[in-house]
Amino acid sequence: MEDYLQEVGALTMRWVKRLSREKFSMVFTLFQPMVFWLIFFGNLFQRTANAEVVQAPSYIAFLAAGVVVMTILNNGLAGGTDLLFDKENGFLERLMSTPISRTSVVISRFLFVMTITSLQVLVILGVAYLFGVHPVTGLPGVAVIILIGLLFGVGLTAISMALAFSVKSHGDFFSMLGFLSLPMIFLSTALVPLAAMPAWMAVLARLNPMTWAIDAVRPLILSGWAAALPKIGIVVIVMTVFDSVCLFGAARAFRRTLG
């Protein structure tokens, strides 16, 4: 156990060091493009969006939950990127030739991605706060939002890592990510509520785990515990299923690459 903590600690610190060496990248990672979605998209559509349709005091207040979950989505889907480079340049093989547990590398990546995602969620909520979006459930609500993010992020990161281990070239990896990410966003309740969608899109959006995550985060920001709790119960179930499917699917790729 002591050995395991030592290896996972050292591997996680490597990700942190890498990030800290790229000052620009660090700033841009924390203040992600997602912030611009919130600021520009939120303000741009303020007058176009009908308050009765979005059921929120402002469009930006409605959008906040969507942007939080979009951040989780993008981070999770990109979570395997560094492992992809490690695989391609042989660093991964160097790691796997040492007497470490076969799970350490993957676990270190989960820890790192989850930590970064949580920090980003805080930044997004902080920026939203400046625009007058004050989560009605307060800090406990923010903590629950982060927990929901972790639940969703585990499955996404697992998919991303499995993809990184399986693709033939990194061009494939990035085009698949690009292909996955946009439909996930548009076919969810990130930008508009289900009721305002064309029927066929609403059907697809209901199948998207992202919709369920947003539907639990949004009342935590806008309505309060009474409205949020049932949604939280549902999202825990949905995410348990989602994560199990992702981890089960990824396990094969992990075993093939990591032995």
Partner: protein, 319 residues
């Protein structure tokens, strides 16, 4: 084999995804303290063999043991005893040299104080102390290679595996890396390296296996392999006017002691000799006695590329 065996590979094979055969029925042994080379062109199966030995790839058939431990069933124990030096690019350019070594030390579960001591030792061994705290992005090719070797030495391995240790390096860095490898050998470390450089195999390896198309074509010490070809080659080219004398000269030379074979092609005689020092004067005496006029004389020892050519039917690329 007198000394004990460090690496034992027996009928090893690897088939990728059930169709591409990378390695087929490879068998060889490496003694403790030996520097052993796998020589072959790109795609010959050298790296596949190496990856099986360092436990990151499972063989499809056959067995491989390192220090008596099976690389599949006892992989974790094998990993504790070996060091691995991958190809140059396997460096994290955002980390400093020291951070690489600290990471590796943690992965080998060294306690902090022992890790610090070991890191200083290996940095000194590869002369990288002065650059240890610079990020690897700023390293030259030769320095990256030194860092690679330092990483491989962190666990104080009994057996060191090196994949193409000097691929893409300039001549000076190459010679330095060779020096380090000789130094490691002097410390008693068993080294298995892959290379597609003939001179590297010739200069560094006590024994080598020539691999082509996933199979071992020949195994032995470089000198053994060369002399196994049947001796040095003396080539005589007679003046065109002496064409009628060629046959007689060939017959006389065949009877000469120390001559193993003579082949004639028009006015050119290829003579394989066992000991050129003794045979060459005798050959020239015959030429003079028969009043033959020489146009050209060439003599060379078999080189490793002659060996490679003889066993694989083609020349190795990229050298």
């Amino acid at each position: 084999m007198g000394s004990s065996v460090a690496i034992e590979v027996s009928h090893l094979s690897k088939v990728y995804e059930g169709k591409v055969t990378a390695v087929e029925d490879i068998t060889f042994q490496v003694s403790q303290g030996e520097v052993f080379g796998l020589l072959g062109p790109n795609g010959a199966g050298k790296t596949t063999t190496l990856r099986i030995l360092i436990t990151v790839l499972r063989p499809s058939g056959g067995t491989a043991r390192v220090l008596g431990l099976d690389v599949v069933a006892q992989a974790t124990q094998v990993r504790q005893l070996i060091g691995y030096v991958p190809q140059e690019r396997a460096i994290d350019r955002f980390l400093t040299g020291r951070e690489h070594l600290q990471l590796l030390a943690s992965l080998y579960h060294l306690p902090k104080d022992r890790a610090a001591k070991r890191i200083e030792e290996v940095l000194k061994l590869v002369n990288l102390e002065h650059k240890a705290d610079e990020v690897a992005r700023n390293y030259s090719g030769g320095m990256k290679r030194k860092l690679d070797i330092a990483c491989g030495l962190i666990p104080d391995p009994k057996v060191l595996f090196m994949d193409e240790p000097t691929l893409g390096l300039d001549v000076q860095s190459r010679l330095k890396i060779w020096e380090h490898i000789r130094e490691l050998k002097a410390r008693g470390i068993t080294i298995l390296l892959t290379t597609n450089y003939l001179d590297e195999a010739d200069q560094l390896c006590e024994r080598l296996a020539i691999i082509d198309g996933g199979r071992v074509k020949a195994i032995g010490a470089p000198n053994e392999l060369k002399s196994g070809l049947g001796g040095d080659v003396v080539t005589l080219t007679l003046a065109p006017g002496d064409l009628d004398k060629v046959e007689g000269l060939a017959q006389a030379l065949k009877a000469q002691e120390g001559v193993r074979a003579v082949s004639v092609k028009q006015n050119v005689l290829d003579i394989r000799v066992t000991s050129p020092e003794k045979t060459l004067p005798a050959i020239l005496n015959q030429v003079v006695a028969r009043r033959c006029q020489l146009e050209f004389v060439d003599y060379h020892r078999p080189r490793l590329d002659d060996v490679f050519l003889a066993h694989t039917g083609r020349r190795i690329e990229g050298d």
